[in-house]
């Protein structure tokens, strides 16, 4: 068993589990205010302490995992759903006007500093988790389109694709029946990486107030709220940040591990 994959899967699995469990049970209610218990340091009653409203940090991190994961999953989904067909189409008609348009469009999206445009989108259409998802999703499109086009181009030269063409299959059918199944491994690996980038982006956006809005708990906003208090209550800033770090680290390790397992050819190249 691949070590990076195991560690990564355990770490990200733990946060996914915390997010799922939070739907049916959290140690403390995260919407209520309990002023008597405010700014408590970590103890047996409150494992990670409480914030300025007396809310339990551990419970908030559990519920916050929900937001982070949901935003990142949908953003990667948008990127794949739009990017993969674009990449397949560009490769199927290599050198055509369509290919040129798709690739130049990709270059253009890449040229925009992604966070800047995400900030613009959320600022123009209002700050919400949905707009954060759209903003992050848009930047996943060229990533997947480029990846799929590159891989598909080499697959198109294979004999089994030639055989499919001889048997009369059209470009669209070949793309979906023969090319797509052969790029899924790549998609899984890249998807994991984009997923972790999505979590970082969501945290950044909610930190500046452009992501999920109160009362939805989110890791980025917990950090923003802690900023005025963390000189005397550092636990407010440390644990949500640690949650982001561990989730992203887990996903990155999982991505590396999956690449090794799913694509043995790359093992030599990466060393």
């Amino acid at each position: 068993m691949n070590r990076a994959l195991t560690i990564g899967a355990v770490l990200s699995g733990a946060f996914a589990l915390a997010a799922l469990v939070s739907f049916i049970w959290v140690p403390y209610d995260v919407t209520g205010v309990d002023i008597g218990n405010r700014l408590k340091v970590p103890s047996m009653a409150h494992l990670l302490g409480t914030d300025h409203f007396g809310r339990d940090i551990f419970s908030m991190i559990m519920v916050g995992a929900r937001t982070s994961i949901a935003v990142a999953v949908v953003a990667v989904g948008i990127g794949m759903l739009i990017g993969v067909p674009l990449g397949l189409a560009a490769a199927a008609r290599k050198g055509s006007l369509m290919d040129e348009l798709i690739m130049r469009g990709n270059d253009l999206v890449f040229a925009f500093p992604s966070l800047l445009i995400a900030i613009m989108i959320t600022a123009v259409f209002g700050a919400s988790a949905v707009n954060a998802i759209i903003a992050i999703g848009i930047f996943n499109i060229p990533v997947f389109a480029r990846l799929v086009r590159g891989a598909a181009l080499s697959l198109w030269t294979r004999d089994y694709v030639l055989a499919a063409r001889v048997s009369g299959k059209g470009a669209a059918r070949i793309s979906f029946e023969h090319i797509l199944p052969n790029v899924t491994n790549l998609l899984i690996v890249q998807g994991t990486i984009q997923f972790s980038l999505g979590i970082l982006a969501e945290a950044g956006l909610s930190y500046v107030g452009l992501g999920a809005q109160p009362p939805t708990p989110s890791w980025g906003r917990m950090l923003a709220e802690s900023q005025t208090m963390f000189s005397f209550a550092p636990h407010l800033a440390i644990f949500p940040g640690l949650a982001i770090l561990l989730t992203v680290l887990g996903l990155n390790l999982m991505g590396d591990g999956l690449r090794d397992v799913l694509d043995p050819r790359l093992r030599r190249a990466r060393r």
């Binding site: 500093p113 600022a123 123009v124």
Partner: protein, 315 residues
């Protein structure tokens, strides 16, 4: 080479044109009338009209686009709705924080990544290699604004070596100004340095496996000599591209980091203008940043082709 440069130049101009249209339309769809926003709810219709006229908000879509782009080409970025000062002046002032910050971060990231990457590659599989790779794995995963907060906690609040935020100003002297940019630059540089160190390492490992390295070793060079004389120069090519790309991450990352440290740079300007619905400032600053990114990438492409003749043909 000339053909290559011309072709890239054409695509540069096209990208800029499309980017400007996208940004312009984007801001167009924003609901709300800046004139009404500035004058408040009880403004008279004719006052509103006069202000709209003054701000250039009347007239057709195309007309406004043309005057925006035309103005920018002449260095006139319009007038801020809220501050009533020319946007170019505001940008000029804040540029002196954002640009040094980005360059400082880029310098730091390179200064950390090169030795770390080279060291890891030259001692492949050793404890040093494993530590560098683990540290970079952490560096990539850490949210840089959180890292910035932790640094404030340690170096500003506990040790009191740095101030927790704000900018001393270049008038206060070079070192005082650099000091207030140090923590933000380190925070910005950390993830970039991690990525760069990884690229440096894998690129160096790739070149170390080339035949000419074996030839160099066979003619009697030590491993170290072969690495420094032959491998490093060839390994630098992908590293340079990544450095170019990082410029855009640094510009965007600065928006969040400037907010952590209350630095009055371009990022904070965009942010404040968004909250104040000062769209002309948003539009112009975003366009300027995108322009910078596109031009830097263009220059990297050209530099790349100068170093590696194979690329001229391929493009």
């Amino acid at each position: 080479m000339l053909r290559f440069v011309l072709k890239r130049l054409l695509s540069l101009v096209l990208s800029l044109a499309v980017a400007s249209v996208v940004i312009f339309l984007f801001v167009e769809v924003v609901p709300g009338d800046p004139a009404a926003y500035m004058l408040g709810m009880n403004a008279q219709e004719d006052t509103l009209n006069a202000l709209r006229e003054q701000l250039g908000l009347n007239g057709g879509l195309f007309e406004r686009y043309a005057s925006w782009v035309g103005g920018m080409l002449r260095g006139d970025f319009g007038t801020s709705y809220t501050y009533r000062t020319p946007v170019s002046e505001m940008i000029g002032e804040r540029m002196w924080i954002s640009l040094p910050l980005a360059l400082f971060a880029l310098a730091l990231s390179t200064a950390i990544a090169f030795p770390a990457g080279i060291w890891a590659a030259s001692k492949r599989g050793s404890f040093a290699d494993v530590s560098v790779m683990s540290l970079t794995q952490l560096g990539v995963a850490i949210p840089n604004f959180w890292f910035a907060m932790l640094m404030v906690l340690v170096f500003a609040i506990n040790l009191r070596w740095f101030s927790a935020g704000g900018f001393a100003g270049w008038d206060a002297g070079f070192w005082a100004a650099m000091k207030s940019l140090t923590l933000p630059a380190v925070a910005l540089a950390l993830p970039q340095a991690s990525i760069l160190a990884r690229v440096m390492r894998s690129s160096l490992l790739d070149t170390l496996g080339e035949d000419y390295i074996r030839t160099a070793r066979a003619k009697g060079l030590s491993r170290r000599q072969a690495l420094w004389r032959h491998a490093l120069r060839n390994a630098l090519i992908p590293v340079l591209t990544i450095i170019g790309l990082q410029f855009s991450f640094l510009m965007a990352g600065a928006i969040i980091i400037e907010n952590v440290f209350f630095l009055p740079g371009l990022g904070r300007l965009v942010f404040q203008s968004i909250s104040a619905r000062d769209l002309i400032v948003v539009e112009s600053v975003v366009m300027l940043l995108v322009f910078a990114v596109i031009v830097v990438n263009f220059l990297v492409d050209i530099a790349y082709a100068l170093v590696d003749p194979r690329l001229r043909v391929r493009a």
